[in-house]
C-alpha cells in the first residue's frame, strides 16, 4: 500500500505543492518555510491555533498574497507569479473565513457570476436567457447547497449559515479541481454542520479539498490527513489518529498542558 502511494506521487502531478513558502508582514513571519503536498483527490485539513497563519497560507495559494519566499505548484504548473484570477481559471476555488458574497446581488446572481467567472466571455453584454446552460447550472447549485428557495433573495439578507452555503455553491460553480475551505463550519448550528459534512462527503472524489477547521469533529471526519500549523510553521502532519495522539500537537493546540 505504502509503495503504491509513493509510486503514484512520483508519477502523477500533485494537485498542490508548496515548497518552502514564507510570508512576512513587517517583523512578523506569518508563514514560515511551509512545504505541503496534496495528491489529487486528497482531503486534507489544516488545523492550528488562532494566528497560526492558516488563512495567510490560503491567501498565498490563491495569489491574493505574494509569498516572500517559496514556490507554489498547481497540478505540476508553477503558479507562484500568476495573479489570482488566472489561478482560479485553472481550477482553484475558495471560500472565506467570514463569508464573502455580494450583498446587493441576488443569490442567483452571485452563483451566476461564479459560473461565468471561469468561462470565456465573462464580460458579455448579453443578458442571460432562461434556457442558457449557465442558468440551469445556477439552479442545480442552489439545489445542491439548499438555497433553492432563496434564489431571488438578496445575498445580504441571508443568515450567516445561508451565506456560507451560498459561498460553497459559488466555490463549486467553477467545477474546481482544488477547493480551499476556510473554516466552513464556523458559526453554523449543529444541524447545519451535519448538512455541511454530508455535502463534503458527497463531493466528487476527484476534487481535492484543503480545509481549515477549528471544529475537530468536522476536520477529522472529512480529512484523510491533517497538517498542524503553529506560529507559521508545520509542526505535525499525519492521519487524524496520529495527530490526535501527537504530543506536540496536544501541547500547542488541543490544550493539553
Amino acid at each position: 500500500m505504502v509503495t503504491v502511494e509513493l509510486h503514484r506521487s512520483q508519477t502523477a502531478a500533485r494537485a498542490l505543492e508548496l515548497q518552502g513558502v514564507s510570508r512576512r508582514f513587517g517583523g512578523l513571519v506569518a508563514v514560515r518555510d511551509v512545504s505541503l503536498a496534496l495528491e489529487p483527490g486528497e482531503r486534507r485539513a489544516i488545523i492550528g491555533p488562532n494566528g497560526a497563519g492558516k488563512t495567510t497560507l490560503f491567501n498565498i495559494i490563491t495569489g491574493e498574497l505574494r509569498p516572500t519566499a517559496g514556490i507554489i505548484r498547481f497540478f505540476g504548473r508553477d503558479v507562484t507569479r500568476l495573479p489570482p484570477h488566472q489561478r482560479i481559471r485553472l481550477g482553484l476555488a475558495r471560500t472565506y473565513q467570514t463569508p464573502l458574497v455580494f450583498p446587493r446581488l441576488s443569490v442567483a446572481e452571485n452563483l451566476y457570476l461564479a459560473v461565468r467567472g471561469v468561462q470565456p466571455w465573462r464580460l458579455s453584454l448579453r443578458r442571460p436567457r432562461a434556457e442558457d446552460p449557465e442558468r440551469v447550472e445556477v439552479e442545480r447549485l442552489a439545489e445542491l447547497v439548499g438555497l433553492r428557495h432563496a434564489l431571488h433573495a438578496l445575498a445580504g439578507v441571508l443568515s450567516h449559515g445561508e451565506q456560507r452555503q451560498l459561498e460553497l455553491g459559488m466555490a463549486l460553480a467553477s467545477r474546481p479541481r482544488l477547493l480551499l475551505l476556510d473554516e466552513p463550519a464556523a458559526g453554523l448550528s449543529p444541524g447545519e454542520r451535519e448538512q455541511l459534512t454530508a455535502l463534503l462527503f458527497a463531493l466528487d472524489t476527484e476534487i481535492t479539498v484543503l480545509l481549515i477547521e477549528h471544529d475537530m469533529d468536522v476536520a477529522f471526519q472529512v480529512a484523510q490527513r491533517v497538517t498542524v500549523l503553529h506560529e507559521g510553521r508545520v509542526i505535525a502532519e499525519g492521519t487524524p489518529d496520529e495527530i490526535a495522539m501527537n504530543a506536540t500537537v496536544q501541547q500547542v493546540y488541543l490544550g493539553g498542558t
Partner: protein, 325 residues
C-alpha cells in the same frame, strides 16, 4: 410593477408630446440641455452606481468628442458622419487611456486622478492651437443636416436628444442584468471576491470606464451641436464638477437620476441667474441640501414618495427586480 410601468408610460407620453404643448423656451432651453447633460451624467451614474467609481472626467470626455467632431468637420472639412465617428472614437480612446491610468486607485484617489486628467486635457486644449484652437477653441461647428433640416432646429433637436437619451438610458438599465453589469456591481461591493471568482478586476474597471467614455462622447456631440462651438471653458473645472453635481442631485446610483438631476440643474441655473448673480451658490446649496437630507438624491426621494403612495393609495405590489436572474 404594473403601476410603475403605467407611470413610466405616462411620463413617456408627456415627453413625446412636450413640443406640442410646452413653450419653445422650455423645449429648447430647458429640456433639451437637460437631456444631453443627462446623458453625460448618465455615463457617471453607470460608473458610480454600478461600479463604485466616482469620476470627475466625464465632461472632459464629452468635450473631447466635441473637439473631435469640430476638428474633423471644421478644420479638416470632413463630412458630419466622419466627425461623429471621430468624436466618439476620441472620447472612447481617451477614456481607455484615462482608465488605464486611474483604475489602480479607488475612492477619493480615483476621483482626484480623474480631476488631474481632466485638468491636463483642459491645459492641452488651452495651449494647443493647431488642433484645439487654443483659448478660442473651434467656432462655427454645425450639426448634421438631413433632408434640408439642421438637426439643431428646436423641435427636431429635442426629439433627437430625447431618442438618444432614452436609448442610452435603456442601454444602461439593460446593462445591469448582463454579465458585464453584474460583474461591475460585484466589484463595487467586493473587488477581491470578484477576483477570486476568476475576473480580472482591473481590466473590468478599464472596460467600464471606456464604455462610459463612449456614452459621455454621445452627450458631448449633442452638446457641441447645441453650442455650435467648443472651447476650453466647456471642459474647465467648474463644468467638470457640474456633472458630478447633476448626478448627485439626481441620485448617483440611479440611471433616472442623471436626467432628473440635469433637469433640476438646468432649471436652477436658468432661473437663479435671472434674479441673482450667485447661481453657483444656489447650485451649491441645492447640492448640500441633497447630500445632507437625501444621500440617494432626488431619485431616492421620488422612490420613497412613490412607494409610500403605492402602499397607501394603491394595492400592494410585490417588489420585483428587473434582471430576471
Amino acid at each position: 410593477m404594473r403601476k410603475t410601468r403605467l407611470l413610466a408610460a405616462l411620463l413617456l407620453l408627456l415627453l413625446l408630446t412636450f413640443p406640442l404643448w410646452g413653450s419653445a423656451y422650455f423645449v429648447g432651453r430647458i429640456f433639451t440641455p437637460a437631456l444631453f447633460f443627462g446623458i453625460i451624467a448618465l455615463s457617471l451614474s453607470l460608473l458610480a452606481g454600478y461600479g463604485g467609481m466616482v469620476s470627475l472626467a466625464q465632461m472632459t470626455l464629452a468635450g473631447l468628442a466635441g473637439y473631435g467632431y469640430g476638428y474633423l468637420t471644421i478644420t479638416l472639412g470632413q463630412p458630419w458622419w466622419i466627425g461623429i465617428l471621430a468624436g466618439l472614437a476620441v472620447a472612447t480612446l481617451a477614456a481607455l487611456v484615462f482608465g488605464l491610468i486611474a483604475v489602480r486607485s479607488t475612492g477619493i484617489y480615483f476621483l482626484m486622478i480623474t480631476v488631474a486628467l481632466g485638468m491636463v486635457a483642459y491645459a492641452l486644449a488651452n495651449q494647443n492651437r493647431s488642433i484645439f484652437g487654443g483659448h478660442t477653441g473651434i467656432l462655427g461647428i454645425r450639426a448634421p443636416e438631413l433632408f434640408g433640416h439642421s438637426l439643431v432646429e428646436r423641435t427636431i433637436f429635442y426629439y433627437l436628444c430625447l431618442a438618444v437619451g432614452l436609448a442610452t438610458y435603456g442601454f444602461v438599465r439593460y446593462l445591469a442584468g448582463t454579465p458585464f453589469g453584474l460583474a461591475l456591481q460585484a466589484l463595487r461591493d467586493d473587488p477581491r471576491r470578484l477576483c477570486t471568482l476568476g475576473y480580472n478586476v482591473a481590466l473590468h474597471r478599464v472596460a467600464a470606464f471606456t464604455l462610459s467614455g463612449f456614452l459621455a462622447g454621445i452627450g458631448g456631440l449633442l452638446l457641441v451641436w447645441y453650442n455650435g462651438a467648443i472651447s476650453p471653458t466647456t471642459i474647465d473645472l467648474t463644468r467638470l464638477i457640474n456633472i458630478l453635481v447633476i448626478a448627485v442631485i439626481g441620485g448617483l446610483a440611479y440611471a433616472e437620476g442623471a436626467f432628473l438631476g440635469a433637469l433640476v440643474f438646468v432649471l436652477v441655473t436658468n432661473f437663479a441667474s435671472s434674479f441673482t448673480q450667485r447661481f453657483n451658490t444656489m447650485i451649491g446649496l441645492t447640492f448640500l441640501a441633497i447630500v445632507l437630507f437625501s444621500p440617494e438624491g432626488l431619485s431616492g426621494i421620488a422612490l420613497r414618495l412613490w412607494s409610500l403612495l403605492r402602499r397607501t393609495l394603491l394595492t400592494r405590489v410585490a417588489p420585483s427586480r428587473h434582471t430576471g436572474l
